[in-house]
């Protein structure tokens, strides 16, 4: 499945090691344009500054959670079509359903492997 490897990706996680892991996995997949933010508030600011081809976000962050970020993104006229993958330890079915209702494109439970991340990116962004 063809992926646009030049598209900028925003990784949102308050745990820098996880940002580093996802960055490395994305690099292995061929993505070079990767930015990061440590919570939803910082991510929203970045999303307003640059057009991203994909947001990969954690759920549990302070002060703005990934779920709140998702709702903000889907409510914003300019951002609402941005593909959004939740990567989180929040694995309760109610979380998955809420995220789906809020418009998430895919949902990955931590810990995950490179193959899962790749297949979800392909499913969401592949042409």
């Amino acid at each position: 499945m063809a992926l646009d490897l030049s598209m900028p990706i925003l990784v949102v996680d308050d745990y820098q090691t996880m940002v580093r892991i996802i960055r490395n996995l994305l690099k292995q997949l061929g993505f070079e344009e990767v930015d990061d933010a440590s919570d939803g508030t910082e991510a929203l600011a970045r999303l307003k500054d640059r057009k991203y081809g994909l947001v990969i976000s954690d759920w549990n962050m302070e002060p703005m959670t990934g779920y709140e970020l998702l709702r903000h993104v889907r409510a914003d006229e300019n951002l609402r079509t941005t593909p959004f993958i939740m990567v989180t330890a929040e694995s309760k079915t109610e979380n998955v359903i809420a995220a789906k209702k809020a418009g998430v494109n895919n949902y990955i439970v931590k810990p995950f492997n490179a193959a899962t991340l790749k297949s979800k990116i392909e499913a969401v962004c592949g042409s």
């Binding site: 090691t17 892991i21 549990n60 779920y67 929040e90 694995s91 789906k100 895919n106 990955i108 439970v109």
Partner: protein
């Protein structure tokens, strides 16, 4: 005419005895309560064990973060190694670094065991105290704690689930059709 005057003499005699008995029971209960409070060893908990637990858990976080960084740096360095005659030696050197970094698990395991032991002791003492004084939880809750819980509930912040409760990625994928 007061009621006391109207009561029979026997009743008037029994009354102070009943009061004394009751006071004696209260005094016994207070003494028992003091013993139970003492058995909690709250000072030891607040001045020794809880700070120790904070310190140990802080060390665990620092050690795991340090080890993770070391491992990731070694892995990233391997990914960036050029092909050539020195490749194998360079990879082996980094693999040894990874092995060394994994030694953190032994130390963190011991630190966590100390914290678990303190928690067990704390649980044991609290359970004994609760049983001894027949404590019941009040309905009211600290406002900060109430706000924290309300936020966690609203935003579904449950944190990681117990291993056996975590749905598989396939289960989650099924929800997306």
């Amino acid at each position: 005419m007061s009621l006391a005057v109207a009561r029979p003499a026997e009743s008037r005699l029994r009354e102070p005895q009943a009061v004394i008995a009751e006071l004696s029971e209260i005094a016994d209960y207070i003494a028992h309560l003091r013993e139970e409070i003492g058995a909690l060893r709250a000072n030891e908990m607040s001045q020794d064990r809880i700070p120790m637990a904070h310190e140990e858990l802080g060390s665990v976080v620092a050690a795991t973060a340090g080890a993770t960084n070391t491992i990731m740096e070694a892995a990233e360095a391997m990914l960036g190694l050029p092909d050539g005659p020195g490749y194998r030696d360079a990879v082996e050197e980094r693999i040894n670094t990874i092995f060394e970094a994994c030694a953190f698990q032994d130390i963190t395991g011991q630190r966590i065991a100390k914290v678990v032991e303190s928690l067990r002791l704390f649980e044991q003492r609290l359970a004994r105290f609760v049983g001894a004084v027949k404590a019941r939880d009040t309905a009211s809750m600290d406002p900060t704690e109430r706000a924290r819980r309300a936020r966690a509930e609203d935003l579904m912040l449950h944190g990681p689930q117990a291993d056996q409760q975590v749905p598989s990625q396939d289960d989650i994928d099924a929800l997306f059709g």
